[in-house]
Subunit: 378 residues, 2 copies
C-alpha cells in the first residue's frame, strides 16, 4: 500500500473513523475532574436522545466491548432463574451468544431460532409467548452482523409489549444508522457500542434502559464490573464512572457524536450507508459474486458474500491482495454456509466503495479467477 | 490556565501520558488484521517479560479497567465455593473491593485486615493459613492506592508458597515501576492496567497467570466477558481478541512500552517516580502538610496527605485553585481518616512536582491559610 494512501477498513467495527475523531484522543483527562464529568454527561444525554429516550430511559456507559454491555444488560435486568426467564430470538452468532451468556450467568431461557437468512415473524413470537407464561423478557438482535440481516424490530417490539413482556435489543451494529426510537417502539433496553455506526473508537459500550426497570434491578447482577444498576447509581450520584474510564475513547465518542449530528443525524447516516451498500452490492454482483441475503432483508451495515466455488479461489490470498491495496475486509465467516463479509459502515463513502471494488477486480485478476468461477459451490 | 501550558495530572490513573503515546492513537486498525495481531502479540510478550514471567506465565489482556481484570482473575482462578476459598489481605479500599467481588461471585473467602497504615506481616499470614486448611488462594494488593502504602509482597509470597497456596497480586498501581519478578517471587497471578505506571491510555487491563493454573481453570468463570481462560484459549488459537479490542488504546500501550524500555525499564521508572515523591513529600512538609504514611511505608506512587484542620480550608476550593493553574489532583479521599491524595506517577518529573508545589502555595495564600492551619484536626 502507498503509505500516503488512507487504509480503508470495511469491517464491522473497529472501523474507519474520521481524523478529527481520532485527534480528540490527543489529550489527557482526569477521570474525576469536572471537565471530564461534563463530557460524560454530554455523551450520555446525546446517546439517550438518539434513542428517542431522553425522558423515559437512561444511558449507562460501560468500559469494554459491545459484548460486555450485552452481558451486563442481561445480567442486570433478567433476575436469576426462578424469578426471570428470557426468550432469545436467534438467527445468527450474536443471538447464539446471548443464549451462551444465559448459560454462564445461570439465567433461565428458551430460544426461538430461524435460519440465518430468515427473520422471525410477529405471529411466531406471539405463539411462543402465549405458550410460556414464565417468560419475562425477550432478547432480539436488530441487525444480526453474522449475515447483515435486518430483523423486524418494530413488529417484535409490538408483539412483546402486547404480551406484557420486556424487550432487550442488541442494537450493536445498527445504533446511530437505523432508527430505533424508544419513544414510539416499546423497548425496555438496548445495548450498543461506540465503534460501529457512531464511528467512534472502540473501548466503550453502553446500554439505554427504562428508568423503572433499572431502578428495580438492584442486586440482580452476578458481577461487580458488569453491574449496570451500580454503575448508574454511582454515576447519578457523582457524575463519575465507578472505575477508571477510557477517557480518550470517550473524548473520541463526544467528537464522533458531534459529527453525527453535523452530518444530519440518523437519517443522513442511514442514507450514506445505504449508498455505500448500493454501490457495493451492485458492484459485487456485476463482478460475479452472489450475496447471501435478498435485498429486502439486507441492512446497510454489512454485506455477506457467498464464497466462490472455484477451487483456485483462496480467501486468505484474496484478503492479502486487498490488504496490499489498503482495503481491509473482515477475515473469516461466522455464518453456517461459507461466506465472507464486507462492511458498509464507518467514515467511508461511495468513492471508497468504488476503490474497494477496483481492488477486488485486481485481486481476482491476480488470482486468475474468471467471472463464472465466482458462483458458489452448490 | 494558560491554554499553552500543559495540564499536569497528579492522579493515580488515568494520568499524564507522553505526546508520542497519544499520537499512536491517530490511526485505525482492523482488529482481526495481521498487523494488529502482531501488535497484540508484541504487547503481551513485553508485559510478561516485565513480570519476569515470559516462560512460566502468560499475559491475558482484557478490555476495561483494572477492576475488570481483578474480577476476571478471581472469577477465573478461584473455583466456586466448596472447591476454593480465598484469603483476602485488606488494608485499604482495593483489598475491600476484592472481598466485595467474592461476595458477588459467590466465592468462599475470609479476610485478614490491618489498619490502612499497617502492612500485614508474614507471621500473621502464616498463622491464618495454618489455622484454615480450606484456603486455596491468597489475594494481596502490592501498592494499596487508598493510602499509597507498599505491602511486603516478597514476604507475603514466600509465606503463601511455603503453605502451598496460590498467590494473586493486585499490582494495579505498581506494575512497571516497582519490581515484581515472577521468576524470583512465587506468584500464581497478577493483574494490572495500561494506564498507571506503564503510562499508557486507559481502556485495557491484563492479568499475568501461571500457565498450569490457567489451563486448569476452564469453566470456572461466572462470566463470558470476564473469562480469562476463554480469552486466553482464543488468543492462543487465533492471535485475536474474542471481542473487539480498544485498538487505539493497545497501540498507545505498545508505544508506551517502547518508551518504558527506552527510559531504562522498571529501575529507571522507579528512580524517576522516587525523585517525584521526594520533591513532593519534602515540599508538602515544608509547606506544613502532614503525610499519612511514614516514609518507610510510602511507595513512590501516590502520596496521601492529612486534611488540614483549619476550618477555613476548603478542599473543593483548593482543588479548583490548583485546577486553574493546570494541576489536577485526585478529588476526594478513600481512607477512613480525612485525607487527600497527590500522584507521583505518569509522564511527569521533578520540575512538574515543583510547579505543583508552587501552585499549592499560591492556593493556600489565596485561601488565607497559614502554615499552622495545615496541621490536621486532632
Amino acid at each position: 500500500m502507498d503509505k500516503n494512501e488512507r487504509q480503508i477498513l470495511l469491517t464491522p467495527g473497529p472501523l474507519t473513523t474520521s481524523t478529527t475523531t481520532r485527534e480528540a484522543m490527543l489529550r489527557d483527562w482526569g477521570s474525576r475532574d469536572g471537565e471530564f464529568i461534563a463530557m460524560t454527561a454530554r455523551v450520555r444525554e446525546r446517546l439517550a436522545a438518539l434513542a428517542g429516550a431522553a425522558n423515559s430511559h437512561v444511558c449507562i456507559p460501560l468500559q469494554g466491548s459491545g459484548t460486555f454491555a450485552i452481558e451486563a444488560t442481561l445480567g442486570t435486568l433478567v433476575p436469576a432463574a426462578a424469578s426471570g426467564k428470557l426468550l432469545v430470538l436467534i438467527n445468527g452468532a450474536y443471538g447464539r451468544r446471548m443464549a451462551r451468556i444465559c448459560d454462564i450467568l445461570a439465567r433461565a431461557y428458551v430460544t426461538f431460532e430461524t435460519p440465518e437468512d430468515v427473520p422471525p415473524t410477529a405471529a411466531e413470537i406471539a405463539d411462543v409467548l402465549a405458550a410460556d407464561g414464565a417468560i419475562t423478557h425477550v432478547a432480539a438482535v436488530h441487525c444480526e452482523t453474522t449475515s447483515g440481516i435486518l430483523n423486524p424490530i418494530e413488529d417484535i417490539a409490538a408483539v412483546v409489549a402486547d404480551a406484557g413482556r420486556a424487550l432487550i435489543v442488541d442494537a450493536m451494529s445498527s445504533f446511530g444508522a437505523l432508527p430505533l426510537d424508544a419513544g414510539t417502539i416499546p423497548l425496555t433496553a438496548l445495548a450498543a457500542s461506540a465503534n460501529k455506526c457512531l464511528e467512534g473508537a472502540p473501548g466503550m459500550a453502553f446500554a439505554i434502559i427504562e428508568k423503572e426497570a433499572l431502578a428495580a434491578a438492584a442486586g440482580n447482577a452476578p458481577s461487580l464490573s458488569l453491574d449496570l444498576h451500580d454503575q448508574w447509581r454511582v454515576m447519578e450520584d457523582t457524575g463519575q464512572w465507578r472505575f477508571p474510564p477510557p477517557v480518550q475513547v470517550i473524548a473520541a465518542l463526544d467528537q464522533a457524536l458531534a459529527e453525527h449530528q453535523a452530518e444530519g443525524g440518523i437519517e443522513a447516516r442511514a442514507a450514506r450507508y445505504g449508498r455505500n451498500r448500493r454501490v457495493l452490492v451492485d458492484g459485487l454482483r456485476d463482478i460475479g459474486f452472489e450475496t447471501f441475503l435478498p435485498d429486502a432483508l439486507q441492512a446497510p451495515i454489512i454485506v455477506t458474500v457467498r464464497m466462490p466455488g472455484d477451487p483456485e479461489f483462496s480467501f486468505d490470498r484474496f484478503y492479502d491482495l486487498l490488504h496490499g491495496q489498503g482495503i481491509v475486509i473482515y477475515p473469516g465467516s461466522v455464518t453456517i454456509e461459507p461466506t465472507f463479509r464486507i462492511g458498509c459502515i464507518g467514515r467511508i463513502d461511495e468513492d471508497d466503495m468504488r476503490r474497494a471494488l477496483a481492488a477486488i477486480r485486481d485481486a481476482l485478476d491476480e488470482m486468475g479467477i474468471a467471472k463464472d468461477g465466482l458462483a458458489p459451490a452448490s
